[in-house]
Symmetry: C2
Subunit: 208 residues, 2 copies
């Protein structure tokens, strides 16, 4: 299986976005490496190298068929599989994520939203009824869930991760401010949204 490093993955994803947003998806629409490079503020050699890495070769003066680029990226990154996820933490962010329609572009299906707050259980948030956390294991098993999305407060994060790992979900997308480390064979992406904010505030402080 192809092994892509993170910067390459990131660039492939941006090509995918660009084509999805700006181009019709039929066989006659082509996109040049130069056009993708302009969008990325990069150079076309880089674009061609990235696309060659997933087996795509452009044609001189024509470029790439846009829909082929996208379907190849989809397939390489696993977006054409059915990836089922649960969201834990039914606050505003959890609700936004659980209802985010664009995730279907990535083959991601959010099948349930959990919380342990009695005030929230049973409420409808987007397309989901908030479920009590003690139903997590049963639902994960029945629906073959592989990804857990964490939108709980930092203090609750580690306990929830333990529960997920116990049920066999060790791929975790963490939006809580806690620092989660992967379990054996698992993968974690800590979003730490505040890092982005801190960078910008630091910039403002330096320039003010």
């Amino acid at each position: 299986m192809l092994k892509l490093n993170r910067p390459t993955l990131e660039r492939l994803l941006l090509y995918y976005h660009f084509i999805n947003v700006h181009m019709d998806q039929n066989d006659t629409v082509t996109v040049s490496s130069a056009k993708l490079a302009t969008f990325m503020d990069s150079d076309d050699t880089q674009v061609r190298k990235d696309l060659a890495a997933i087996g795509l070769k452009g044609r001189p003066r024509i470029g790439f068929v846009a829909s082929e680029v996208n379907s190849k990226i989809r397939h390489t990154l696993g977006f054409d599989e059915n990836n089922r996820a649960v969201v834990i933490g039914a606050g505003r962010l959890g609700g936004a994520i659980a209802s985010y329609k664009e995730f279907t572009d990535y083959g991601l299906e959010i099948i349930a939203l959990f919380d342990n707050d009695q005030q929230k259980i049973g409420l409808t948030v987007g397309d989901h009824i908030v479920q009590p956390l003690n139903r997590l294991a049963a639902i994960v098993k029945r629906r073959d869930v592989h990804l857990g999305i964490l939108t709980v407060p930092a203090g609750a994060a580690h306990e929830v991760v333990d529960r997920l790992v116990q049920t066999g979900v060790n791929t975790i997308w963490n939006f809580s401010p806690a620092n989660i480390t992967p379990s054996n064979g698992g993968a974690v992406r800590n979003e730490h949204i505040a890092v982005g904010l801190a960078e910008l505030l630091y910039h403002l402080k330096k320039t003010s």
Copy 2:
């Protein structure tokens, strides 16, 4: 003015989180570099180096006064200033961000939420009434706003950025999938949340 690189900034922010979440903020509570290192899955030499970079020196066998570490990080990163921001895009994510209480920990005050969708203008989302985009310039000027937070669809992003830059806001926190590049003297943080998702799905594909 102190110049910190991004990984250092990121680690400082995680120390700040850890102390905020797990420790009382009074003069008698201390934290060792070893404890912070354990939380970070790092080593204590790194922690001491980071804290030394912002002028903090621990005491042998005692460590650092937790509240001093936090106030120093706050000051260094600009969290103790009043940073006013506007959110543009009153969808679910925009609503979640505009109502996120923890931003006050960073000195961030979101003063208005905008959209150009007539169906949304006038609605109350969290603490905000959604304003029409044509009021942006007036509000930014009157309230001395320096940060713009983008939660619009990719197709609308560049136009909104142009409007922000015209009103003098060139520090932009971009949650749309568009790729925004900084204007002269400006700073942009592209969150590209889907990058994290793509990484995890790629991991699932490799291990399945």
